[in-house]
């Protein structure tokens, strides 16, 4: 099997969670499913990269790139702004567990563990943002003159 049972559950919940956030952000109805699917795809890329033994930073970078590519593709197909699909696709990548563990370790006084989780959290976010920006920069390079397409 490509994914273990736990991971299949994670993928399903990533899909549901991204859909829920798409609803919270008042995404237009036609765009909700692509946005949710983007969350599924980005988490799938994350898991696959981890399976390949590349480590969590590379996983964050590649899944950020995947989410951004997905969002750019659908933005052009559906003629909506990229942000609409991008934010919902990136939601499952946010390091919620690291954030919680940083805080709870700070409360009990384990500064070492807190620093470790905090570092993981910050680096994850930087690499996700890096992946998104790489794709944004690439598309800006090839943008046509005066094109009023999905930006």
């Amino acid at each position: 099997m490509l994914f273990s049972l736990d991971e299949c559950l994670q993928l399903l919940m990533a899909l549901l969670g991204s859909a829920a956030f798409a609803l919270i952000f008042h995404t237009p109805e036609k765009c909700i499913f692509p946005a949710a699917l983007g969350g599924f795809v980005s988490w799938a890329v994350y898991l696959l990269t981890m399976h390949a033994g590349r480590g969590y930073l590379m996983a964050c970078l590649l899944s950020g790139i995947a989410a951004a590519l997905w969002a750019e593709a659908f933005a052009r197909v559906m003629k909506k702004p990229v942000t609409v699909f991008l934010i919902s696709s990136v939601i499952p990548l946010i390091p919620g567990r690291d954030m919680y563990r940083t805080m709870s370790n700070l409360v009990v006084g384990n500064l070492g563990a807190a620093a470790g989780y905090g570092q993981t959290m910050v680096l994850s976010m930087i690499f996700i943002a890096g992946g998104m920006s790489l794709v944004a920069a690439a598309f800006l390079l090839f943008r046509g003159r005066g094109r009023q397409g999905a930006m």
């Binding site: 919270i24 765009c31 909506k80 702004p81 946010i94 919620g96 954030m99 700070l106 976010m125 943002a129």
Partner: protein, 296 residues
């Protein structure tokens, strides 16, 4: 003689160099195309009102979660469609626009924006659509104002919002490894979050206290609940489900992205803010754990 590429570093007769001479500026290319067609001129008395409406659009876009680059681009394109040369500078708290009309009239207006990190994609999509239509067929100022008011007064009912918050809390609690019971508890406490969010957003303008009080309230609730129900629920996973609703993680990621794509001031500003909000949220949770630890 002025060497292209290093203006300002040579002593020349022109003491003031236009920034536009330095780099090819894509934003004004669209203007050249428009000028070759017959650019519709709005009545001279309405130029100020037009700029106010354009600033309205930019302000609403920022409030809806648009990126800085998109807002600058949209404002510039709309202005170009009306025949003006545009100088636009946007950060999350301010929009500064100068319009220069072919007749020589120059207008500058600024707008202080609220700087919230909300996301309203329906509104963003409609604004984007409005700007596209306006660039294709420039509207009168009255029509533009009516369109903007229609978008601004879009009313969203609360019930779907509450349901989606519950679904999000449930989904992410399970995503991070919780059992269905943890997910249901997270969904229930997301109601508490929505309640606190509703109260505090209305009465508190300081977002730092908002994060502190919301996480204190939610953390205390979950902590007390988990103490009272013994080992039935995994406190960590219930909390993580609700934290995903509160947390400014997406704001941080957007901030880093803004910095990388070149809007360094806005990105750094938002990143520092988001960091402070995260610290406030952590402080709220820590206080809650202290309090509920006392209950056990």
């Amino acid at each position: 003689m002025e060497a292209a590429g290093i203006p300002g570093m040579l002593m020349t007769e022109k003491y003031r160099v236009s920034g536009r001479d330095r780099l090819p500026d894509r934003r004004n290319e669209a203007m050249t195309e428009t000028m070759e067609q017959t650019a519709p001129v709005i009545p001279a008395g309405e130029e100020d009102a037009l700029l106010q409406r354009i600033l309205d659009i930019g302000d609403l876009m920022l409030q809806s979660g648009a990126e800085i680059g998109r807002v600058e681009d949209t404002i510039a394109r709309i202005g170009n469609a009306y025949g003006a040369e545009m100088d636009v500078y946007v950060i999350i708290y301010s929009i500064v626009v100068t319009m220069q009309y072919p007749g020589g009239r120059v207008l500058t207006q600024t707008r202080r924006t609220r700087g919230r990190d909300d996301m309203e994609f329906d509104r963003l999509d409609r604004l984007n659509d409005l700007s596209r239509r306006c660039c294709a067929n420039p509207m009168t100022v009255g029509e533009l104002a009516a369109e903007i008011d229609a978008i601004r007064s879009l009313h969203k009912s609360r019930l779907p919002h509450i349901a989606s918050c519950m679904l999000a809390a449930f989904a992410f609690s399970l995503f991070f490894g919780g059992r269905p019971a943890d997910g249901i508890a997270a969904a229930a406490f997301s109601l508490l979050f929505v309640l606190l969010q509703g109260i505090l957003s209305r009465y508190s303008t300081n977002r730092i206290f908002y994060f502190l009080l919301v996480s204190l309230g939610v953390g205390a609730g979950i902590g007390a609940f988990c103490r009272l129900t013994g080992a039935l629920f995994n406190e960590e996973l219930v909390m993580i489900g609700v934290i995903m609703l509160i947390n400014p993680g997406i704001t941080m990621i957007n901030a880093v992205r803004e910095m990388i794509v070149g809007n360094t001031i806005s990105g750094a500003l938002r990143l520092i803010e988001a960091t402070i909000w995260t610290i406030a949220m952590a402080a709220g949770f820590m206080l809650a754990i202290h309090i509920t630890g006392g209950i056990a």
